[in-house]
């Protein structure tokens, strides 16, 4: 008996890995479809975009790079779908060197959606190049867009781009969206776009970082927020375009359950061993 218990107590970590892999793969291949209730911050994120008048100009800050694609990527995808669906015009900008490359991945991915909506690059949306300088660049962009980004990502002078024709500074935008994996990100937007220009801001945050932005959300400086992949899944559900985030939700639950089951199991074995009468 005690031999078995100490074997269970020191279960090889590879057993845990194996169970985790099996659980996640099985659920990915056979989704259960557990309900994903939409939380208020996500609802308000959606409403901030959907309630804008048609044709409003929106700044989309892609403040992450390839490392955060799994979590921030679906947020960006769902956000772009929503912007297209609700007929807004938007400017994609990035203070991260890898940001524009990420934007291109999603512009390619959504090509059919964009084409079928009749939206055209340059007329309805534009991609700016990487803006060097972090917070300084965020401030400069808000103050004088055309002198901060002289060309778009593909090298066309911004003065020749229709969607930017009447844009001078932050006041010409109706909403700023910051989808971010860290710094520069939400704080820079708060300081350089929200405080000076009273710009409504909504944010997409990594699961680990979301709790640190809760104070800004509670104080109303951030109007709505997507929290981690879960937030992206909720947005996909609201706009009726379930994609990679929604399909990950069951796998996410399975992974959490496996981890919890092992913690509980480890403790049961530990306690049984501790209270087992000695000398038997």
């Amino acid at each position: 008996m005690s031999g078995l218990i100490s074997k269970l107590e020191n279960v090889d970590r590879r057993v845990i890995y194996f169970v985790l892999i099996i659980a996640v793969v099985a659920v990915l291949l056979n989704p259960i479809g557990l309900p994903v209730p939409v939380t208020t911050p996500t609802r308000r994120y959606h409403d901030a975009i959907a309630s804008l008048p048609r044709g409003s100009l929106v700044l989309v800050g892609i403040e992450f790079d390839a490392g955060a694609l799994p979590e921030n990527g679906p947020m960006l995808e769902a956000t772009m779908r929503l912007l297209i669906k609700s007929n807004q015009r938007f400017v994609l900008a990035s203070l991260w060197s890898g940001g524009p490359a990420v934007a291109r991945i999603y512009l390619d991915k959504l090509k059919t959606v964009i084409d079928s909506s009749g939206k055209r690059y340059g007329e309805d949306f534009v991609l700016l190049p990487y803006l060097v300088g972090g917070e300084t660049a965020a401030a400069a962009l808000a103050k004088d867009l055309k002198n901060t980004a002289k060309n778009d990502y593909f090298g066309t002078p911004v003065t020749d781009i229709p969607v930017l024709k009447n844009v001078k500074d932050a006041k010409d935008f109706s909403l700023a969206i910051c989808i971010t994996a860290g710094t520069p990100g939400v704080e820079e937007y708060l300081r350089q776009w929200v405080s000076p220009y009273n710009m409504p801001l909504i944010a997409g945050a990594l699961g680990v970082a979301a709790p640190t932005y809760i104070p800004y959300y509670n104080s109303g400086q951030i109007k709505g927020m997507l929290q981690g992949l879960r937030g992206a899944a909720e947005l996909e559900l609201i706009i009726g375009a379930p994609s990679s985030a929604v399909s990950s939700m069951d796998a996410l639950s399975a992974g959490h359950l496996v981890t919890i089951v092992f913690i509980v199991f480890g403790n049961i074995v530990f306690l049984v061993k501790k209270y087992q009468p000695k000398g038997k």
Binding site: V11, R13, I16, Y17, L20, L34, P35, V36, P37, A66, G67, L69, P70, A101, I105, G207, P211, I214, G228, R230, M249, D250, L252, S253, A254, G255, H256, L257, V258, T259, I260, F262, I263, V264, F265, G266, N267, F270, L271
Partner: protein, 214 residues
């Protein structure tokens, strides 16, 4: 100026002067002595030095592998060949045309690099489970608190938590907002005081280890 001064004391003087300029420049506006410009240029110079230091790092790495190659270190030299070849390939395609925009460069970035980068990141999904299994044994009050807080927050995050019991997300949220928020606030206050004291010790050249003064 004697050589010992240049070798041992000049670096400390430089640390002190640049550090103090960076700090006071934040509090005081002094356009008449171009403080803002000095500050901006100092940051710029530092970031360029760091750039050269990065190149030094890459060079050091390459030297390690060239040595493995020339010594034919067993079980290592062929990996060193692979590594060196890829460094050169990446730099090669990176230098074609406008720096770092060539389709081959983008291919290296998009397929092998991103795939490996995110995979190494995701290895943590496994390590986080095995470390939890080992660490969250309720051996003491502290262990109990650690384990319970972790489980409730996990059940707050995973959709399955709410499906099992509506209380999980509520309690998880409370742990996140109250004890987690408050203890980290105390943690940050302590760390900040320690970091500032450490920085000041560096500025006056008293801190061992920095710039080799033991």
């Amino acid at each position: 100026m004697s050589l010992p001064f240049l070798k041992r004391d000049l670096p400390v003087v430089i640390v002190c002067v640049t550090g103090v300029v960076m700090i006071i420049g934040y509090f005081i506006q002094a356009p008449e002595i171009y403080l803002g410009d000095i500050l901006g240029n100092l940051s710029l110079i530092a970031s360029v030095i760091a750039g050269y230091a990065t190149i030094l790092g890459i060079l050091t790495l390459a030297i390690v592998h060239v040595k493995h190659l020339s010594k034919r270190t067993q079980g290592q030299w062929m990996y060193s060949v692979l590594l060196l070849a890829l460094v050169l390939a990446m730099i090669g395609v990176g230098l074609i045309g406008t720096l770092g925009t060539h389709p081959y460069f983008m291919w290296f970035y998009q397929y092998p690099l991103v795939a490996l980068d995110t995979t190494i990141y995701s290895v943590l999904a496994f390590y986080i489970a095995s470390a939890a299994f080992r660490a969250f044994k309720i051996k003491s009050v502290e262990g109990l608190i650690l384990a319970v807080a972790a489980v409730f927050v996990m059940l707050m995050n995973a959709p399955v938590g709410a499906a099992l019991w509506g209380g999980f997300p509520l309690i998880g949220r409370w742990i996140m907002d109250v004890p987690n928020g408050a203890a980290f606030r105390g943690f940050i206050i302590g760390s900040a005081i320690g970091a500032i004291a450490m920085s000041l010790r560096v500025l006056i050249g008293r801190e061992r280890g920095i710039l080799g003064r033991t």
